[in-house]
């Protein structure tokens, strides 16, 4: 039983990008305004879920050939590595570094290792959510 859901599929393609970029914005904005890695990750996965609903799991798998288990693992490694880095600097575990830089195009910007940690969170959230959805969705 295949229904013709052209409008849904077409809209989904556009909305996917809107949500995805919004999630990136949310991720970076997180340090100063509402947002952060957790919500950002959830938004990204919701964008992918939208695609899954509009098309189906197999199609999405071919469009985004990502191994979400690896994604989870790399997120965890990134988070742990960010937290562990200060040890080699003689500082306690989980010391964050931040400073302000003058970057071209952005002007005065603060760069923060917390963002790296947050990126790890982001990756784990996307990885886990999508792993769960994929495995449960595929379980026939």
């Amino acid at each position: 039983m295949k229904t013709n859901d052209l409008i849904l599929q077409f809209t989904a393609k556009i909305v996917f990008f809107i949500i995805f970029f919004f999630s990136i914005h949310i991720f970076f904005a997180g340090h100063y305004t509402p947002g952060g890695g957790f919500v950002g990750g959830l938004l990204t996965s919701s964008a992918i879920v939208l695609l899954v609903i509009a098309f189906d799991l197999k199609t999405v798998r071919t469009i985004l050939p990502i191994n979400y288990m690896y994604m989870t693992a790399s997120g965890l490694i990134l988070a742990f590595a960010t937290a562990a880095y200060p040890i080699f600097d003689g500082k306690p575990f989980f010391t964050h570094y931040f400073d302000y830089f003058n970057l071209p195009l952005f002007g005065k910007t603060s760069l923060h290792t917390a963002a790296l940690f947050d990126l790890g969170v982001f990756l784990v959230v996307v990885g886990v959510t999508m792993t769960i959805i994929q495995t449960i969705g595929e379980d026939e």
Binding site: Y32, T33, F38, V39, L42, V128, I136
Partner: protein
């Protein structure tokens, strides 16, 4: 560099999977061989320094705030052990290259575990800090667990691996308790620091407790009575592992520990009695039951148990030297010397015997001594090695075992004359035990060597046609056998290079006499090949050989006696009863009673427990305090939202179709998100909205697979109970929230966050900064849990799927 050397095997292990995968034509063992070879040549450079009584110390700060550091402390004792670990390690790796087939075996696993073990062992013997010592100690247990269970498809391997780990880890935990007590008394975790202030705390009330706990750790590791039961089962490991772990290194960690703590505990009589007594008991028990075994490796396992007991008893005797004045000049100094000497000798002859057992197994396909015999003509080289090492184990000249056994007898003879702690009355018993055990040692050594290689060849009973092993496999045992002979002829060189520095490390107080120089070379012990006709040791040896020979010749007649011991009353049966009877079956029964497979009931239990505990605690602590003073007025739109919330919940509860329930649940979630928006929590609202969306989508995705609602009919009492539980949970949450709002015991922490969020963390959004910075640990472990949950779901569903497919195929 010195600290790094400990970790080199572990670092090398990272490369092993790559080498195994991409260099398949070459046996992975050849690459691994480089590591112990490098290390042994590195440690050799320390010999000359340590011979002069010098020590080398290097450390690396690990957790400075807790004063925990990785330290490498090389004195005579730890250097000797390091050389044994890396030296025997080299030979074992060489042997394993020919023993393990590169096409059939999972070599990368094997060598990773082996290298991990090497690091752990080096760490144990070199650590000066007791916490890192404990860390490495348990790492040896874990890596030996992996090595014993290397052929994990076999039930017996898994059983043996588990058994060894249960016993040694339990002992290790007790030992940790001892360490902590000791550190509390002495105020430091450094062993050197403790030794330096020994007399200060030996009358503390916890001194004996700490002593017993630490001894338990040493006894479990060194397979002393009654903890030896894991060692015979550990023989399921591949033979290189048995040769390495169960003769030369891991089981000697307990010996090392006792030797290392001798200066601290020797003042106590309990120490002397326990170490000597348990050692002698293990010695006689192990040697007696070795003759019962029919498996080649089984015989060796029991013989290792007994030999470890021998070394242990000598260590106990060496502690007496602390109680005698001028001990350095009396005859008591022999005990420590003999212990270390026998330790070295045991490593050489037992290592090669294990390798021979492996070769026999490899070339004939069986290790059952009843099927073997007459292999001498087929395998002349193996026989020579077995002959030399076996006779050394039996304590015969001209092999090194003879020398250390003579010294053992000397030490036991002196114990008899000693009048401290009533040894004068009991001493003769010790001597009798020692002699009887030596007789059985003689018997099992001959049993092992001659039943295998002499007699009639029974080719039809052997699974394979026997022939000599490839030369590569023989190199390592040949080297060890050569050492066995060499040590006999140059015992005093070995003595001054290896043994005296080790003894010096064990008994530092004895040799710091103004008249004697503060150097290992001041220990005036020379090993004599010949004691003269009047020496009692000689006549004891003659007696041992004579009785042993008679017993060996009449072996078939009296070996039946062993059948008299019923299996039911052995220590193994006790272990099985505890592990299988209590933990496996008893716990299974218990969990079956509670967990009968209905999620609804589990939830009910959990919720009932939570509400009971929380409400109970609130009442007990008198924590209820309801005040509505600070409460804001309820607006009309809030009221409307609440009505929506309640209606949504009710819809979910009474809905007859799944989709209605999902929509109802979604409504609840979105309404809660709206509340978050209203109460100035945009972060929470955002997250809640996205979560709601995703979970609704997930529901839709799995819609087809869910069971229909309303199928489960339950009788009324159950529904009533559920009503009570849900009201309880509701009441609990409401009361908790209200009383939390009504009373403020401490000032709210949010002011602190508000003030410091920019200066300390360089951020603006408090919620996010808390997540990634202030409470980063929480987040780190949350995402770890999240990752594990994802992996769990993946594994459960995928594995179930693949199993289903398999069962379909088999049908």
């Amino acid at each position: 560099m010195q600290v790094l050397a400990i970790f080199i095997p572990l670092l090398a292990a990272i490369l092993i999977p790559l080498l195994f995968r991409y260099a398949r034509t070459i046996h992975t063992g050849w690459f691994v061989l480089i590591v112990p070879l490098l290390l042994v040549s590195y440690y050799v450079t320390f010999i000359s320094r340590v011979m002069d009584g010098d020590t080398a110390l290097a450390s690396f700060n690990w957790i400075p705030s807790l004063n925990i550091s990785f330290e490498s402390y090389l004195d005579g004792l730890s250097l000797l052990f390091s050389l044994l670990i890396t030296g025997i390690g080299t030979l074992v790796v060489l042997y394993s290259i020919f023993y393990l087939d590169k096409t059939k075996e999972q070599l990368h696993n094997f060598y990773i575990y082996l290298l991990m073990f090497m690091t752990a062992m080096l760490g144990v013997v070199q650590s000066d800090h007791m916490i890192t010592l404990y860390l490495f100690w348990e790492l040896t247990s874990i890596s030996s667990f992996l090595l014993i269970g290397y052929w994990f498809q076999r039930d017996k391997s898994r059983f043996g691996a588990l058994k060894s780990m249960m016993i040694t880890v339990a002992g290790g935990l007790l030992m940790l308790g001892g360490f902590v007590l000791l550190a509390q008394m002495g105020g430091t975790y450094s062993i050197r620091g403790l030794i330096a202030q020994v007399p200060h705390f030996w009358d503390s009330q916890y001194f004996v407790l700490a002593l017993v706990l630490i001894l338990l750790g040493a006894f479990t590791k060194s397979a002393q009575f009654p903890f030896y039961i894991w060692l015979p089962d550990a023989m399921e490991a591949p033979t290189p592992v048995s040769a390495y772990l169960h003769s030369a290194t891991m089981v000697k960690a307990g010996i090392y520990l006792v030797a290392r703590f001798t200066p601290i505990f020797a003042v106590s009589e309990v120490w002397i009695w326990l170490v000597t007594g348990i050692g002698l008991l293990t010695l006689i028990w192990g040697s007696f039951f070795a003759v019962k075994q029919t498996d080649l490796k089984g015989i060796l396992a029991f013989s290792t148990v007994s030999q470890l007991g021998l070394i242990m008893s000598l260590l106990g005797a060496s502690a007496i030297a602390f109680h005698v004045e001028d001990a350095a000049n009396t005859v008591f100094k022999y005990a420590a010397f003999a212990a270390i000497f026998h330790l070295i000798n045991h490593a050489t002859f037992k290592g090669s015997l294990f390798m021979i057992a492996g070769i026999v197994d490899h070339e004939t396909g069986t290790r059952d001594i009843r099927k073997l015999g007459g292999l001498m003509s087929m395998m002349p080289l193996s026989f020579s090695v077995a002959f030399i090492s076996g006779l050394s184990m039996a304590g015969l000249p001209p092999f090194n075992g003879f020398l250390s056994k003579e010294m053992f007898l000397t030490a036991m003879l002196t114990l008899k004359d000693f009048e401290l702690f009533e040894f004068s009355t009991w001493g003769i018993l010790l001597l009798i035990v020692a002699v009887v055990a030596s007789i059985f040692t003689f018997v099992y050594s001959f049993y092992f060597v001659f039943k295998t290689f002499m007699g009639k060849l029974q080719v039809d009973k052997l699974p394979q046609k026997p022939h000599e092993a490839p030369i590569g496999m023989l190199i390592a045992p040949l080297i060890l056998a050569a050492l066995v002979m060499l040590i006999f002829f140059i015992p005093n060189v070995i003595g001054s290079v290896f043994i005296k520095p080790a003894v010096f490390a064990m008994q530092p107080f004895l040799y710091q006499d103004p008249f004697l120089s503060n150097m290992p070379s001041s220990i005036d012990i020379t090993v004599k090949l010949w004691h003269g006709w009047t020496a009692p040791e000689l006549w004891l040896t003659v007696c041992i050989i004579a009785i042993g020979a008679i017993l060996f010749v009449t072996l078939t007649k009296w070996q039946k006696l062993y059948r008299l011991q019923p299996e039911k009353f052995s220590i193994n049966a006790l272990y099985d009863f505890v592990m299988d009877g209590i933990f496996n079956r008893g716990m299974a029964k218990l969990s079956k009673r509670i967990m009968h497979g209905s999620t609804r009931h589990y939830f009910m239990y959990m919720f009932a427990a939570i509400s009971l505990i929380v409400i109970g605690t609130l009442f007990y602590k008198n924590a209820f305090k309801l005040s509505f003073k600070a409460a804001a007025p309820i607006e009309l739109y809030q009221l409307i939202l609440i009505i929506v919330l309640v209606l949504g919940t009710l819809t979910t509860l009474i809905a007859r179709s799944r989709i209605t329930a999902i929509v109802g649940l979604g409504a609840v979630g979105y309404t809660v998100a709206l509340f978050f928006v209203m109460f100035n929590a945009p972060d929470l609202a955002l997250t809640q909205l996205v979560i709601e969306t995703i979970s609704v989508a997930l529901f839709l995705l799995v819609f087809y697979h869910l069971p229909r609602l309303g199928k489960v009919k339950e009788y009324t009492p159950f529904r009533f109970r559920r009503l009570v539980v849900s009201i309880g949970i509701g009441a609990m949450v409401t009361l908790l929230a209200l009383s939390a709002h009504s009373q403020k015991l401490v000032q709210s922490i949010n002011e602190y966050y508000k003030e410091t969020v920019y200066t300390l963390a360089g951020g603006g959004n408090i919620v996010n900064v808390i997540l990634v910075d202030y409470r980063g640990f929480d987040t780190l472990f949350e995402i770890t849990v999240l990752g594990l949950a994802g992996m769990g779901i993946y594994a459960m569903i995928k594995l179930r799927l693949s199993r289903k497919e398999k069962s379909n195929e088999s049908e």
